[in-house]
Symmetry: C2
Subunit: 120 residues, 2 copies
């Protein structure tokens, strides 16, 4: 995997790794495009905090914005999320293979020659 892509994926995961940002994303998913003020309505934090989170999300490519008069509407942008999803699926499959390899390594040597060095 290219370094750039790895960085992009890490950015997406970083953006997802915060409870406030997760709930912002859920609001955007269920309520459609909304302004920072609207998003901060039920939230426990300030509008400014929400704005900062939206900037993080936008930096990760999960969201984009558009001016609409005096309001700024933020909307979901699924591309990068798909990237992250695919990444997780690949890693998951890779882990399954790794763990299967290990399982076989252990089971195929039930009475191996001596107390040999375990290749953990």
């Amino acid at each position: 995997m290219s370094k750039a892509r790895e960085r992009a994926v890490a950015d997406v995961f970083f953006a997802l790794g915060d409870g406030t940002r997760l709930s912002v994303l859920q609001k955007l998913g269920s309520g459609g495009a909304q302004s920072a003020t609207a998003l901060s309505d039920g939230a426990k934090v300030t509008r400014q905090a929400i704005v900062k989170h939206l900037q993080v999300l936008e930096g990760a490519g999960l969201v984009d914005h558009q001016k609409r008069g005096r309001a700024v509407l933020y909307a979901l942008k699924p591309d990068r999320l798909d990237d992250a999803r695919v990444f997780l699926e690949e890693v998951s499959a890779s882990w399954d293979r790794a763990i299967e390899r290990l399982r076989r390594l252990v089971e195929d040597l039930p009475s191996a020659p001596g107390p040999a060095k375990r290749t953990f």
Copy 2:
């Protein structure tokens, strides 16, 4: 989704949102269970830094450890990763639906009654 589960998922994403931790996970996936010292071998950071990252990963449930003599071996633990993968798949599907709803909303009203308020 329960608050606790949401928190757990956020923890997993947080753990994945760091380049060093991602490469640690990749080493564990391709090289099998390894000690912190082994993992810090080609790395740009200290063993102690790797240890801290391993603790984060273990806190998120992505890894577990096991003492083996004087060594401590860390290994992948796929359960929580699967949770995160499923979460992403659900969110992704949810976004697709939301965006499809929006698309229809726009296209089904090509010459709607007057310059009605756009429900962005």
